[in-house]
Symmetry: C2
């Protein structure tokens, strides 16, 4: 069973994580010119976005980080919760933007973060949690308990 290394923990992203989250996300793709103000505004927007789940209001955006024993951000990822009409006005979790710092590979941080976000989404009431990945990462996500179910397609201008 995978467990976090001693001293590591998982928590929601906070505005003070600006530099370390931006640095961690660069492993994944182009981050671009994200200023501290834009980052903080985004985190504030995420914190204030809710979804109606039965009689409760839950958070739509659930961005998290894993921090190491020194409190440094070493991984990040999120799950966005969507409300539908189908499946009895069901909720679906979308796992997005999983990134692990290059010097932290091999510690199962990606697996632990996926499992954490997946559980969070199910406990919030999601009937399913989905994610899109490259063909080469299918085996990794299968280890996280996911199974192949469709094709992702995109449209760019």
């Amino acid at each position: 069973m995978a467990v976090l290394p001693p001293g590591y923990s998982i928590r929601r992203i906070e505005p003070r994580d600006y530099e370390e989250v931006v640095e961690t996300l660069k492993v994944l793709t182009v981050v671009g010119d994200v200023t501290r103000a834009k980052f903080e505004e985004t985190v504030e927007f995420w914190n204030n976005s809710t979804v109606k789940a039965g009689n409760a209001e839950i958070r739509a955006y659930n961005p998290h980080v894993i921090v190491n024993a020194e409190g440094r951000v070493v991984a990040t990822g999120t799950v966005l919760i969507e409300r539908k009409i189908i499946r009895n006005c069901g909720l679906v979790g979308h796992v997005e933007d999983i990134a692990v710092a290059k010097d932290q590979q091999g510690k199962q941080l990606g697996l632990l973060l996926i499992q954490y976000l997946t559980r969070l989404a199910h406990e919030a009431g999601c009937y399913k949690v989905i994610l899109d990945c490259d063909e080469k990462n299918v085996g990794f996500y299968e280890k996280c308990g996911y199974r192949r179910c469709g094709v992702e397609m995109d449209h760019r201008l």
Copy 2:
């Protein structure tokens, strides 16, 4: 070029569309016990959910219907707009829950709805629009201007 049949139009979902939208969605999957009250509450929640896009607030949920010349709902679909940190705090559109009434197939309503939602998302500022589909529908979405870019995976309890 695909155009809507005479008298048909595309507009946002309204609370009064309850019965016809629920009926149309049954083509897609299990809708379940969605009462009028739950439907109306969901539409109200969708209408009030916003995303920060630069200095503007845009709608996060963009559920639409195509109605025929008699005003009956004959197709439905939505695009959810997500705010990220990557790509300069970029926006991504998620096209979801496209359904066309069985007796309306062959009129290119699915294609027209996808093109409409895709354009709406790009005009709102999305750098890409994505969707997940079955392998057998890849050719259809390619006609809509999409290309295969990854694998969809899911996790269910």
